[in-house]
């Protein structure tokens, strides 16, 4: 047969062997719940399901060079919903660590995003989807920030229409103090976000 496409499982095997929790993706049934519920999905080049599908497809460069694995903030949304009980976060973090070890680095904007996400959770106990992009955009300076923000307007308006992004700034959650204690501890343990 001509035009034969070989199935190349070598990258998947590399992941199963070397990445923490990497073999968990064998259980993934490609349902899309993680990708459909991740609060950062608009910012991810490949949401979790697509990362897992790419691993199976042998796309090493796309996966290890992906900003998504660096962006994941351990919010647990996907993990609590995954119908196959896959510890999606552990896999994403495992992949991020593995990518860093292999010499891949997060892009500047990804690092800024992760940093702001973390600070905002610390401040409010939740994510203000309007405020977060603003802070991220301006982390690179005023002019660049305005330009980036204009680009983002479309998504912002769409989100607002669907009440996902509220017009008023989010208030602090109840029990923010205990959340902060937890976050401090998590940071001390070196697990505070994939890029920490």
């Amino acid at each position: 047969m001509e035009n034969k496409v070989n199935y190349d499982p070598s990258f998947a095997e590399e992941v199963f062997r070397n990445v923490d929790a990497g073999d968990e993706i064998k259980m993934c049934m490609n349902c899309g719940v993680c990708a459909g519920s991740c609060p950062l999905r608009e910012h991810m080049d490949y949401p979790p399901r697509q990362i897992f599908a790419l691993i199976r497809a042998g796309k090493r460069e796309e996966v290890l060079g992906s900003q998504s694995i660096m962006l994941c903030t351990s919010c647990y949304t996907c993990a609590v919903k995954c119908p196959r009980s896959i510890p999606v976060i552990d896999v994403m973090h495992g992949l991020a660590h593995y990518a860093l070890k292999q010499g891949y680095v997060p892009r500047k904007d990804t690092a800024a995003f992760g940093g702001e996400f973390w600070k905002q959770v610390y401040r409010l106990g939740r994510i203000d989807e309007k405020d977060l992009p603003r802070r991220v955009f301006f982390s690179g300076g005023l002019i660049e920030g305005v330009r980036a923000m204009l680009n983002f307007m479309d998504i912002g308006i769409k989100l607002m229409l669907h009440r996902r992004m509220k017009l008023l700034p989010e208030r602090k959650i109840k029990g923010i103090q205990s959340l902060r204690k937890m976050l401090d501890k998590a940071e001390r343990l070196g697990k505070g976000g994939a890029i920490a």
């Binding site: 899309g32 459909g36 519920s37 999905r41 769409k158």
Partner: protein, 422 residues
């Protein structure tokens, strides 16, 4: 009242759905004495609440009617409604069973004239329609009920309302003094055919069932489509009773999910495919989207899938919906997810959502019962260490009527063998 003489040559069938009825009739027609106990005030089980059967789209009542006729003609089957097994002891060939019967407050003299219901002012949630409407507290469970006999809800017995019913009945059919009764049976084998319950959709919190009015379940959809249902056969949004312009079906709602039912419920793909035909025959311009992980229409049932696929008004979108929010102003529902074929995000608005919920088996939950075995999901498994008691139908596996009937025939044969061995 229940004067039931049986011997260790008799077979007990628990559950009067399609599986139990089949097991009872097959054994009786082979010459064995059978006692059938059914918890509901009528026989037929869950299929009495279905509008049509896939794939032929015929009404379940014809099949049921044939079975009821077989039952009326065969003195070897005795059946008891509003009856449950209270305890089972003994072993193959020699079981002692206690059956508990709840009072119906209406005896066999009832002619179904309906005068009691006319006189009664009290209403209860209609269990037959999954609480979507109200019914008088003196009622016929449904128009094809077998046995065809009224029932009084315990809440009115001994009250003014109960008295009104009693006074209205010209046939002496109402008996407010009926009490719970128990009777003992001796049987040689038992067929457990207690069927299934719909999975509680409220447990899938991100779909908002119970909170968003226009999110309903597939069993409710069956009632809506039925002419004797709460809407007289019209498909209407619960919030404003308007006809929906578009409807989403969410497959595997609570099934194939480690957080809920880890197994595939087997029939809900076909049920949704069937329900698209309910919608289309009533409202040809209604758009339908089916959100699925994969469609499980096996063997010959695939033809039905192919038929629905050809309908230009039915879109199949490969995605397990991740979240539903309600638009408070309109009561519309906003579905979020990922289209796993294109990788695009889904953000779609629907007038109504049907959750394709799955089946939970009814296990034997008695203080005293032989050690029966279940699989990891709670389905009955025939235990070679415990011959004499056999599962039949949806207690063994979530499946359709045709397979339940086959399984029940096998169950009847096993029960007969248990008696023959003795």
């Amino acid at each position: 009242m229940a004067d039931v003489q049986t011997t260790s040559q008799a077979i007990l069938v628990v559950g009067g759905g399609m599986s139990g009825i089949t097991a009872a009739l097959e054994a009786a027609e082979a010459g064995y004495d059978v006692v059938l106990v059914e918890r509901n005030p009528y026989l037929g089980g869950r299929v009495t609440q279905l509008y049509q059967y896939f794939p032929k789209l015929c009404p379940p009542n014809c099949g049921l009617e044939i079975n009821f006729r077989r039952m009326r003609q065969n003195p070897k089957v005795r059946f008891f409604t509003m009856a449950e097994v209270a305890s089972i002891s003994g072993r193959e060939g020699d079981y002692d069973v206690t059956v508990k019967m709840a009072p119906r407050y209406v005896n066999e003299k009832c002619t179904c004239c309906g005068k009691c219901a006319e006189a009664c002012e009290a209403e209860i949630d209609n269990p037959f329609n999954y609480g979507m409407d109200k019914i008088k507290a003196a009622y016929l469970p449904h128009e094809f009920a077998f046995p065809m006999r009224y029932i009084l809800d315990p809440s009115i017995v001994g009250t003014d309302q109960g008295k009104k019913c009693l006074d209205a009945c010209e046939y002496g059919a109402i008996d407010p003094d009926m009490k719970e009764t128990t009777f003992d049976l001796k049987v040689g084998a038992i067929v457990w055919a207690a069927g299934w319950n719909p999975y509680d959709a409220a447990k899938i919190d991100y779909y908002g069932f119970g909170e968003y009015k226009n999110v309903i379940t597939n069993v409710m959809m069956e009632r809506m489509a039925a002419p004797n249902g709460p809407t007289g056969g019209r498909i209407l949004r619960p919030s404003d009773k308007k006809e929906p312009k578009n409807i989403a079906f969410i497959q595997c709602a609570g099934s194939r999910d480690e957080n809920h039912l880890p197994y595939c419920s087997g029939i809900c793909c076909l049920a949704s495919l069937k329900q698209t035909t309910y919608v289309r025959e009533r409202k040809p311009d209604c758009d339908i989207a089916i959100f699925f992980i994969d469609i499980r229409a096996l063997d010959r049932l695939e033809d039905f899938y192919v038929k629905v696929q050809a309908d230009p008004k039915v879109a199949f979108i490969k995605s397990k919906i991740a979240n539903i929010t309600e638009d408070e102003g309109t009561g519309n529902l906003i579905l979020e997810g990922e289209n796993t074929r294109t990788g695009e995000q889904i953000l779609m608005n629907f007038d109504m959502v049907v959750l394709a919920t799955g089946m939970v088996p009814n296990r034997i939950e008695l203080d005293a019962a032989p050690d029966v075995t279940h699989d990891e999901y709670g389905f009955f498994t025939n235990n070679p260490e415990q011959p004499g008691i056999y599962g039949a139908g949806c207690v063994r596996t979530p499946t359709d009527v045709a397979s339940s009937v086959q399984d029940a025939t096998a169950g009847a044969l096993k029960a007969i063998q248990s008696i023959a061995r003795r």
